[in-house]
Symmetry: none
Subunit: 200 residues, 4 copies
């Protein structure tokens, strides 16, 4: 990577970092592009060399951050040497939930903006250096020790269930704190898995 290429990457990453920091602290609506470039220390026009507008940088951030969540969770799972598929899914959910508990501003950012559409998008549009959600998905459905009925529906339901229920529980402890809610969530996830997965 040439010096110039490197410089561009630094600028872009700096913009992404600044945007993320501002989006999570002030919210997207109240963050202006002026804010982002000021925090990045680059000129206003530079922003438009890398992103179309505020929503473009938001979508790229969501894909990136969501991918990171899954990637970290999977790495931990492998380290823990878990091989049973249902256990793997539960582990990943739990790990992600824990990451979000530790990083509530990330939760604020992701949960308000994550949708299945953007998620699917991240399969294709992922930046070159992004760890893609696609890999995890593919490793999951291509296992030969299980037969999965409609894996996409299963994942969709699990993801939506987890991400929608955890939001208010983690951030506001409403209706109950997350630790109290977890057993119910995992019980439901197990049920969903049972419905879709058959060991061979």
């Amino acid at each position: 990577m040439g010096k110039l290429e490197l410089n561009k990457k630094i600028k872009k990453d700096s913009l992404l970092d600044s945007a993320f920091s501002l989006f999570t602290s002030k919210g997207i609506n109240k963050t202006s592009i002026s804010d982002i470039v000021e925090k990045s220390g680059v000129a206003k026009g530079t922003f438009y060399l890398y992103f179309k507008d505020k929503y473009d940088i938001r979508n790229k951030l969501i894909s990136h951050k969501a991918g990171q969540l899954f990637d970290i969770a999977e790495k931990e799972m492998i380290k823990a040497n878990i091989t049973d598929l249902p256990e793997q899914i539960i582990f990943i959910c739990d790990n992600i939930l824990n990451q979000l508990c530790e990083n509530q501003s990330l939760l604020t950012f992701i949960s308000k903006n994550l949708s299945w559409g953007i998620f699917k998008n991240s399969l294709g549009n992922a930046n070159d250096d992004d760890i893609s959600f696609a890999d995890i998905y593919n490793r999951l459905v291509s296992r030969d020790d299980y037969e999965i009925d409609s894996p996409e529906i299963m994942l969709y339901m699990i993801i939506e269930l987890v991400s929608s229920t955890c939001y208010s529980s983690i951030l506001y402890e409403e209706p109950v704190p997350i630790e109290q809610l977890k057993p119910y969530i995992y019980d439901t996830i197990k049920h969903i898995i049972r419905r879709h997965v058959t060991p061979l």
Copy 2:
């Protein structure tokens, strides 16, 4: 209600209607207070006699519209003469889903903004003439033919599951159209109910 009282109600309702129509067609971010008052045919200053700002009117609309959804569903349920609690819950979910299918702009509006917080809020702050979600909730938990373990958690999970999964499925048929998704949703709801409800 005096003539003056009535006039005020007309103005306020007109503002609410206009705001709803604009929010659902252009989105909240792109709707200005100027747009709302213009559509309502009242003066700009008048808006501030009734609402604090755009987000105030949005929250009131969400409570109101969400309440309506439940109210309609419950009325239909009574008409259908359904008394078994699990069946009641399924019926209400199905009815609401159908309402949202018929009214996708309402779905766009609600789903992007509905959160447990605002929902709970609607229990207290409901406009005087609003049918409150609280009533339905109370009727549900005070039945003497069932024992419900953590009814709030149960409802929370069901509501979040339904509202989060239906959004992308209804609007974009992603990952599958809602009719194909429904069996999986209802199966999961039944599981959740079984976990919480014991017939006496």
Copy 3:
């Protein structure tokens, strides 16, 4: 006219005056709306209460200023008690040319922007208080002591001839100063009139 109405008129006129002054001194391209409102001493937003954009205020100014030119010329003509139609036309042309010599910034502004289209427009859209070019045109063609063949073509040719030839001659004395050019212009105008007008 109420106090409020009067205040609005003052603001609008102030904007028109400021715009005219800036357009003639710096040119339209280099005049920004910020410049105009600053010179007027009103807020930026106020501009948009009265005009759509820079080109809107320009067109209104052109109509207005062109109308004034004709109005002054006609008034002088009446004062001079000239009744013969060809002499009237020559008189008006001469008077307008003299006005433009005296007011070269007006010439700069008008000549670069006057087109038959905008001119015709001014017949209809004239501000209420504008003296309309239409009146002069109508008085001219409805005389019963002359028969005019295609009066619109005649006027079009005279107006275009005069306005296009005077521009460079007055401002840059190119190819010759206006006083030297005038005989040729008037000779040509007389020829055009002869071609179109028959005394009865």
Copy 4:
């Protein structure tokens, strides 16, 4: 011409072509230098190696395109074997008018920007490879079978008359379509010529 020389000429011509195409389709104000270089496929900085700014390239284009008009018209005239001076002038006017009818975007571009000043300029500054309007002018005034009184004034008046009257007539058929206007224009041109030209 060396290979390098040739390469430079290609770049420059490409910039001129792109600019012309954009100026005529979007207008000068809405054409940016970015647009021009993008269309040309050269880098932004390259533009400044050949032109000072947007108005520099515009003036060069006007000279060039106006020169072309005259050059084509004269070639056709010679081909048609017309030798009588008044007939030559009429022929050239008619030919140019026809060229502009066929190429209305060229008319838009030229008419809004052509002025006697730029025209005279083209006599001196003409690009090396341009056919100069000066040649035509000189051939015209140096004939020994006619005496011309003030040839510059004559040409000035004819050019301004034709270019100003044809604009709205060709583009908007206002006040009448060009074919209907032509007899009046030519009649007036003949009158102007008669006034200036004496056969010897």
